[in-house]
Every structure is written in structure tokens, then in C-alpha cells.
Symmetry: C2
Subunit: 325 residues, 2 copies
């Protein structure tokens, strides 16, 4: 049976999780969130956070489109984004590299320069890794961090009645990719969002103490809302007209004849944050100067995840990007 036949990436993860033995008292959160959470000392000591992401040439990046520095920055930022989504602080990074035999040393050094640039931005120490030979450039980053127990935001913490907010406009990376794929040159804003995304560590520390559930938007808004709803056993309504779209995303949509909302919902790699928060806390969050966009709300109907278009008739909210679909 192929991965596609069982329902793709998320179904596979579900099946594999079932094979994993037992529970462990020190594990606060295992498989199933942006990062694993481990109690390494009695509370209120911070929890340890661990996330890992693997990027494959031509699947996640193209050497023809991105410089090695850009690939390095993106590889690092997508991991930092996972730590931000837990409400945590990134600390220690490990890199495994698969490199074709003929890879230029300068290319590898510049990849490292990009990774180190992101590490400096977030005060992360790069502590090790592994390097080996293979046909396709592959970059695995493992990032460790910590989170104060009070600030931990799990996917499973959403409550009916919560407002759902996102930290910035969505769909820019997917719009840039669509333009590149169809032979157009993306404008600077879109290209930057696609090639060198900045994860939202800049504001996650303001959000985490107030939010309930949080997740980073790496597979499109649709998939992330579904992840929160499944983990929290709740439903959600997303208001189409409230999903923030940058003007350049709208323009790209007009150029390619695509509804730009599709990029926001089913695209990916925005690395903004989606979070649920009690409505009465939203004013406090906004007063702290954090710019956010309310896109919908959490309901008490598990499994009912709907998009409300401008004509007002709810339709099922599509999931996001799946590597095996």
C-alpha cells in the first residue's frame, strides 16, 4: 500500500504514532505538536522543547532559485518558528547535511553562513551535527529550546468560544512559488517571503502568556486550523473576508487567475502564527502593540471546521499542503 492510498502524510504520521511504545511521565507532549515538550526538572523550571525538520532539494528548495545563504536562513527559521509556536525560546541547534560528492565547498560555507545569520538573530548556539554524501542536498535541523510552563501553548489548548488570530498576511510564499513555477518574476515582497522568511519570534513572547492554543503556519491556514481542532476536539469557523492578504498576493492572483485565498488556506511556508485566545484577552494583546488579525473563532462542534465565504453559506475548510498528496 502506498502513502497516498492511506490518505497521505498526516495519515502516515498517525499510523506510525500508533507503533510507538508507551507513555513516559516526564513527557508533557510527544508526537503531535510543533515541538516535543519534556519536563527535565521539577516545575516551575522551564520545559525542554525539541523540534526537527528535514528539507530536501527540489522538494523544499531549488538551488536555481535560492542562494545557499537564503536556503540556510529558511532552514533555520522554519525550525525557530516551531519553537515560537510553543511559546518558547530557541537555544541549541544541530545540523545534518547530505551533500552530493561534487558540491562546492563555497556553497556549503554560504549555506552555513545563512544558518548562522539566523542563529545570531535568535541567540542560538550551533552545537553539532553530521555530514554525509548522497545524491540530493538534504538538510535536517534539530532545534532545542525552553519554555516556561505558564507560557506553553499546545495545539490541544483551544477552547470553544476562543477567537482565532493570525500574526500577519498569508499566502505570500505560495504566491511567489506559483509565479516562479509559471515563469514569472515575483515582486520583491513575495520573493523575500518565499526565500528568506522571518519567523515570528519577535512577537511570540507577547502572545504566549495570553493565548491558549498556538501553531505555526507552515502547511497553510487550513491544515493548521484542522490540527488545532483535532488536538483540542473542537470545531472552528474561519471568515474568508477576514483572512489577511497582502496587495501583492492579490495582484499575483489576478495575474495567474487564481483566488489568492487558496494560497492562504492551502499554500504553506508563511511561518506566521495561528493562535486561539479568550476574546476578553484580545484587547490586552492589542494594547501590548502586537499586530494581529482575527480570522474566526473556535466552536464546540468537534470535526466541524468551516470557511464562511462572503455569501455567508459555510463550506468545509480545505486542508493544507501534504507532501505525499
Amino acid at each position: 500500500m502506498k502513502i497516498k492510498e492511506i490518505g497521505g502524510e498526516f495519515a502516515l504520521i498517525e499510523r506510525l504514532s500508533g507503533l510507538v511504545p508507551g507513555t513516559h511521565p516526564e513527557v508533557v507532549q510527544g508526537i503531535g505538536d510543533d515541538a516535543a515538550v519534556v519536563r527535565i526538572a521539577p516545575e516551575p523550571a522551564p520545559f525542554l522543547l525539541v523540534t526537527t525538520d528535514i528539507l530536501v532539494e527540489d522538494q523544499h528548495f531549488k538551488r536555481a532559485w535560492a542562494s545557499p545563504e537564503q536556503i540556510g536562513i529558511k532552514a533555520a527559521e522554519c525550525n525557530v518558528s516551531d519553537i515560537a509556536a510553543m511559546g518558547g525560546t530557541p537555544q541549541w541547534m544541530f545540523i545534518s547535511l547530505v551533500l552530493p560528492a561534487g558540491t562546492e565547498v563555497e556553497w556549503i560555507e554560504n549555506l552555513y553562513r545563512g544558518i548562522c545569520q539566523s542563529c545570531r538573530r535568535h541567540s542560538i548556539a550551533l552545537l553539532g551535527g553530521d555530514t554525509t554524501q548522497g545524491a540530493v542536498v538534504t538538510i535536517n535541523i534539530t532545534l532545542l529550546g525552553s519554555v516556561h510552563p505558564d507560557n506553553l501553548c499546545l495545539r490541544s489548548h483551544a477552547r470553544p468560544g476562543d477567537a482565532l488570530l493570525v500574526t500577519g498576511p498569508l499566502g505570500a510564499s505560495a504566491a511567489a512559488l506559483a509565479l516562479l513555477t509559471s515563469g514569472h518574476k515575483p515582486p520583491g515582497y513575495l520573493l523575500e517571503k518565499h526565500l528568506t522568511p522571518n519567523c515570528r519570534m519577535d512577537i511570540s513572547h507577547f502572545i504566549a502568556p495570553l493565548a491558549n492554543a498556538m501553531i505555526d503556519i507552515s502547511d497553510g491556514l487550513g491544515a493548521e486550523v484542522h490540527h488545532i481542532c483535532a488536538a483540542s476536539r473542537v470545531g472552528a469557523e474561519i471568515v474568508a473576508s477576514s483572512v489577511p492578504l497582502h496587495d501583492e498576493v492579490r495582484k499575483a492572483g489576478a495575474l495567474l487567475g487564481i483566488d489568492p485565498l487558496l494560497w492562504a488556506i492551502s499554500g504553506g511556508e508563511d511561518f506566521e502564527l495561528l493562535f486561539s485566545i479568550s476574546p476578553e484577552r484580545v484587547p490586552q494583546l492589542k494594547a501590548s502593540g502586537v499586530l494581529c488579525h482575527e480570522v474566526g473563532r473556535v466552536t464546540d462542534r468537534p470535526g466541524a471546521v468551516v470557511l464562511i465565504p462572503s455569501d455567508g453559506i459555510p463550506i468545509p475548510l480545505a486542508g493544507g499542503y501534504d507532501h505525499f498528496q
Copy 2:
């Protein structure tokens, strides 16, 4: 410039290490040992250990030669071996998988079963990972563990006068690979050492409190002796006739017309431990029932790493396996 031209894998790691920013007070050991060592609470609290290894199809394993369970066991054991080499205990594992689109779900599940078998053996919790699509099966494992500060064995801890010991016969995995590559069927002992190695967690806890430097033998005895000598700024003498070789390794050597000592020194994937220890502590170690083989000694001549053959005239000890040479 290609990786080969600068001197291969270890030269590349050296160059990349130079790009990594600054030092961090909580980092006991960064790049340059089997695992990174981080102080996460004031001593005598245990240090955190982190190791990561990436395995690529046809480079590290062949699906034609190994079952998915065997590949899983080996992938896990080679990481546990790194934790054992630090004197530590493995605790939490994270797996990133790259899978071709057409991979059978049963194959992936059996890979996981192999990994989980190793996890159960060592009481490790599997806490997460990442799964994506790509042309070649690639398995990245990150393993976290802990070590009591008194038991930490760094590569840099060897002292002139130390005895050098290994925990078991060497060269079996390389001998099996040589037989497979040349179309022979390896005998059971060699095949098992190659396909499903057992790392030496069973005895590392007896060795660690007594040893000075320790390293696991993944790239051949030659490379590992060089690593210890470079990190400790010492030299070493290895006595050829003392390097333990299993009868099956000798037989395979006779069959293929290869000196089996070459497999022990320049082969790899033995996952035994090499350690340096004050000679006066060796009796105490042996009294604890640990079977070890003394293969040489540490000298005060940095850079002088020699093999003493049976004719008694020292020759430079060859390095081990390099993925880019």
C-alpha cells in the same frame, strides 16, 4: 572547490566549525565529540547530551540487503552508541524521514518497528520527527540523553600514559560489506554485526566512571584514535597484534585476499567503544566483569599516531572511513 580537494569530510567539518559564532557558558562541549554536552541546571545535575546522525539509502544501507526492521535497528543503535561513548544514558528520540512517493506503508511501518525495538531495549521514548517526500530514503535520528558530570568521557580527556582499550573484536561489519559487495554470502556472525549491530550500552556505564577519553568506533579504529589524539593533543601507539579480530573476520580476509586488520582500522560501523584509562584502573575495570582488549597506549607526542606491526617498526596509523574521499 570540491570537498575532496580540501581533504574530505573531517576537513569540511573543521572549516564549517570556524564559521559558527562564539562560545556559550552553558555549553560544556559543542561541535567535535560524539554528542554535544549542555549544562541545563547547576551541577551535580546531569548534563544534557544531544547527538544526530543521518543515514542515506545506498550510502549507509541497501534495501536489497537489509530488511526495514534491520535498517531501523541500525539507525537507532548508531545514535545510542554516541550517547554510550559519552558515558551517558539515552532518553528521547526524534526521527526525520525522507521517503520516495511510492514507498510501501508496510516498509515504513517495519522500519519504525526496528527503531522501536531498539528504543525499548534502551528505554528510550520516541517523541517526534518529520516526514517528507524525496527521491532517496533518508533517515535522520536525533537522540537526547543525560550524563552525570563525573561520568562524562570526552575525546579530549586522554592523558599520556593512558592505556587504550576496545570493547570487542573489530572489522566484522566491514568484512560483511566486503563479502556482500564481492557477491559472497557472509556467515551469520558477520551479517548480524553489519545489519543489526548492538551498541555497547550494556557495559558503557561500567567503563565511564573509570575511563578518561571515550569514543565509539563508527569510522574504523584508525580514525577514532586520531580523533582522540587530536582532541587531547596527545599521540598514540597501537599494537597491531593486539587489535582483536574475530575468526570469521580472519576467514573472510583469507577468502578475499585482504589483511583483516585493514577492516578493523579503516572499515567502520563496529559500534564498539574505544577508551583511554589510567593503567592502574584497568584491574578494577576487569574485576567488574567487563571484557575489554588493550590495543595500545597514549603518548606525550601530539600528532604521532603510529601502528606497531609484528616486525616492531612503527608506521603511521591510517585514518578511517571518510564519506567524501
